[in-house]
């Protein structure tokens, strides 16, 4: 129960006492009364109960310090969770994806418990003592490493997003989901710790003919993907750390492959084997699944990097402007990212793409990483169609929906990165809407 502040009827008797007792009063109240004269203040309808009444958490002991040996979010944040939809599953909740609540994320790091989770046969639990990584094929010195041995290599930490290539596929035929979580939640970001693969390979005598690397998981589905050697020797990593703790099982504990900026499924989890060859493998995931069927009936396979992309995360359907008053100052903020490089520019449109303004980038601007953008407006209580358009340092400019469909048709659910945004009504409600010519 909340308790009223003691002495609601404040009668200051001397100056010292007055300051002590009015410390919680607003500046305007103090300004309107004579500071030097004794004053009696009576309860007012302007008084905020959250200030005037004793907060229950201020009058009793909190939880025991060791209540949770692994800390949990505030119970008030219990709705800040990943969500699933049966439309996105293959008939069960083993081979499916849970969407990350981007609307409640801050900065450029996803908390580990909210990292989107895509698996092809459930989250497997690998015994770290029985973990082995085998590296073989076209190299002089094949290698087997235990987890302990792998972690003896000097570690490096990098902030990178991981995105499923199907992210955004839920909307490009037309808007479908009226929330940010299912429009763009098939991605998350973390600081990953591990060792660059080229550091490990340096002393293994990789053959010149080794043009492809197979990465294979140890899970039920034995997720296998072929990676070109150019990526392996650029920025590929074997990672065991995620945001300062061991990888979550959902992210491939104890070791996953990290291919910065590339399709999520290539970042093979529960890693078991790396084999080098002169030929690509054509695994099931790179022939039957992660391919892009084009209008002419031919498909692109081995499609690797995630395109330049952006999304406004505030406002969004889950974070509307309905509580704003006309004239309030409000920030439009969101995420921009590219698997091809570093975000260079983000433009914002308030009128559905007729006119654009360059937004500010803020915080760390890193390669193949989420980048925050910001643009501040005064809310005029008028309808808006908000859009964002990102450009990266590889020169890739985010295309319109029309342009993307013109180029690749509507089939092929992957790599959909067109400009999308939100319609804001004059009441500040936010709806998913597309702009088409």
């Amino acid at each position: 129960m909340t308790k009223k502040q003691k002495d609601p009827d404040i009668q200051a008797t001397n100056r010292r006492d007055f300051f002590k007792k009015t410390a919680f009063l607003s500046a305007s109240l103090i300004a309107s009364s004579s500071i030097l004269a004794p004053v009696k203040i009576t309860a007012s309808s302007l008084d905020d109960a959250a200030i005037m009444e004793q907060a229950p958490w201020g009058t009793k002991l909190g939880d025991l310090v060791d209540k949770n040996h692994y800390g949990l979010p505030s119970p008030y944040e219990h709705n800040n969770v990943r969500r699933v939809h049966d439309l996105l599953s293959s008939g069960d909740r083993y081979a499916t994806v849970s969407m990350s609540p981007l609307h409640q994320q801050e900065g450029i790091i996803t908390p580990n418990g909210l990292f989107f989770n895509r698996s092809h046969s459930g989250t497997t639990q690998v015994d770290p003592h029985k973990f082995r990584l085998m590296i073989h094929g076209l190299l002089d010195k094949p290698l087997v490493l235990t987890l302990e041995e792998l972690k003896r290599y000097p570690s490096e930490s990098r902030i990178h997003f991981i995105e499923c290539p199907a992210n955004g596929s839920t909307g490009w035929r037309g808007p479908q989901f009226d929330n940010l979580q299912f429009v763009k939640g098939m991605m998350s970001s973390a600081e990953w710790t591990g060792v660059p693969l080229k550091v490990v390979l340096k002393e293994l005598g990789l053959h010149k003919e080794a043009k492809w690397m197979l990465a294979e998981g140890s899970d039920n589905s034995e997720m296998a993907r072929t990676i070109p050697i150019e990526k392996v020797l650029d920025d590929a990593m074997l990672v065991w750390g995620q945001n300062g703790e061991p990888l979550r099982a959902e992210q491939g504990y104890p070791v996953r492959l990290l291919l910065p900026g590339w399709e999520g499924n290539l970042n093979v989890k529960w890693l078991k084997r790396l084999e080098f060859s002169s030929k690509p493998w054509h695994s099931k995931e790179e022939t039957s699944k992660y391919t892009m069927l084009q209008k002419n009936g031919k498909a692109i396979n081995y499609f690797w990097p995630m395109e330049v992309n952006s999304i406004i995360t505030s406002p969004c359907p889950e974070v509307p402007w309905s509580s704003l008053k006309k004239g309030d100052t409000v920030e439009i903020t969101g995420l921009a990212w590219s698997g091809r490089g570093t975000i260079k520019t983000v433009d914002i449109s308030l009128d559905g793409g007729k006119n654009w303004i360059e937004a500010s980038l803020k915080g760390l601007v890193l390669p193949k990483s989420w980048t925050r953008f910001s643009y501040i407006i005064k809310w005029d209580a008028k309808e808006k169609m908000l859009l964002s358009r990102a450009i990266d340092d590889s020169g890739h400019v985010q295309p319109s929906i029309d342009k993307l469909i013109e180029n690749v048709g509507v089939e092929g659910i992957y790599h959909r990165n067109p400009i999308v945004g939100w319609f804001v009504s004059n009441k500040g409600e936010v709806k998913n809407a597309h702009v088409r010519s």
């Binding site: 709705n79 490096e156 209008k295 889950e318 091809r340 654009w356 890193l366």
Partner: protein
């Protein structure tokens, strides 16, 4: 190549940290090298990778781990490549495959691979790949083993390593041959011009002659990559129009999709205690309000977990036990001394204590 002019802030960044300037891509004129995927290659020096600092000691010999034995490599190297590398010896007939399929695959993939229960359809769709589902009623393209998969090697490898879904790595080489034979036959794929009837026996030799209908259905990736130019350009390049751009029509959601799990809400409230959490909640109250006396017999209270003592208690009838808890009995004060506990709480607590004592 840079499309946009150097900005003042970036000039400042370059002047104030000369060392980093050559690694910051934004706003500098450093010529960017690109990888096969079209992405920028950020140089890695002895001290930096992009904006990240590195250990400068330049040690590259670690000698961690050991050489795997040949048996170990053989045990894990189970992949099969399009040219047959890795394909084991074995044989299986269409008929045997049919039996295996009915027993282990049909429940998910349907009769003759026709699909169902949300799992992939394995047959049909040949000739459908140019279809575009533009509006309701259009026939979509169907990507099945027969219409889409370019190589049979993938089929063998995937079935043996990952199927059946709930019991993978359980099929022998011969069983896998049989299943491949069955799946090719229901897709009406011929080997060397020969139809695969029930008696057809697939062997390694015959397998190497399989040509899948859609083998040429993919854009090639140059295997030697003699041309290191971007092999995967962006699917679509946008334009950076800033003023009076083409006007657009706003399209709203026509049929909104619901059914998210859990329901979409951003409410910041306390979670409701779900039914299945009730036991947990009761356990929590028990440990706070009852366990001090009821967890050992020092105070004469019936000990939770002691069937004999609780049998004696229950003899009075459970209603009487509830009442005793409310008004107090022997050394136990009313409501065990915790006046915040409702009658219902006490009943739940007693039920819990009886349950765990059984």
């Amino acid at each position: 190549m840079h499309m946009f002019a150097l900005k003042k802030t970036h000039v400042f960044l370059i002047l104030s940290c000369m060392l980093l300037a050559s690694y910051t891509s934004a706003g500098t004129d450093v010529k960017l090298k690109k990888n096969v995927d079209g992405s920028v290659i950020y140089p890695r020096t002895n001290t930096h990778y992009s904006l990240y600092l590195l250990n400068k000691q330049n040690i590259s010999e670690f000698n961690h781990g050991r050489t795997p034995t040949l048996n170990e490599i053989k045990a894990w190297n189970k992949d099969v490549m399009p040219d047959g590398e890795g394909l084991p010896v074995g044989e299986g007939s269409v008929e045997q495959g049919d039996e295996l399929y009915s027993a282990q695959c049909l429940s998910c993939h349907g009769d003759f691979g026709a699909g169902g229960s949300g799992y992939p359809t394995l047959t049909g769709g040949q000739g459908s790949l140019k279809n575009q589902l533009l509006q309701a009623g259009d026939e979509p393209p169907m990507r099945t083993i027969g219409s889409y998969w370019p190589y049979a090697s993938t089929l063998f490898w995937y079935i043996q390593s990952s199927m059946p879904f709930n019991n993978p790595k359980s099929l022998s080489n011969n069983e896998t041959y049989a299943l491949v034979a069955y799946l090719l036959s229901v897709n009406e794929i011929k080997i060397d011009g020969i139809e695969l009837d029930d008696e057809y026996v697939l062997t390694k030799e015959k397998f190497l002659k399989i040509k899948m209908p859609n083998v040429d259905g993919f854009y090639p990736v140059s295997p030697n990559r003699s041309n290191l130019k971007e092999q995967r350009p962006p699917l679509a390049q946008g334009t950076r129009c800033m003023k009076n751009c083409k006007t657009q029509e706003i399209i709203f959601i026509k049929n909104e999709i619901t059914g998210f799990d859990p329901k979409i809400t951003s409410k910041k409230d306390l979670p409701k205690i779900k039914k299945q959490d009730n036991d947990e909640a009761i356990k929590e109250i028990y440990s706070q309000s009852c366990a001090a006396c009821h967890s050992n017999d020092a105070l004469g209270a019936p000990v939770v977990g002691d069937l004999e003592q609780w049998s004696e208690v229950i003899k009075k009838g459970v209603k009487q036990v509830y009442t005793n808890a409310i008004v107090g009995i022997n050394a136990m004060p009313p409501r065990g001394g915790n006046m915040d506990l409702s009658d219902k709480d006490l009943e739940n607590l007693i039920d819990y204590m009886i349950k765990v004592s059984k």
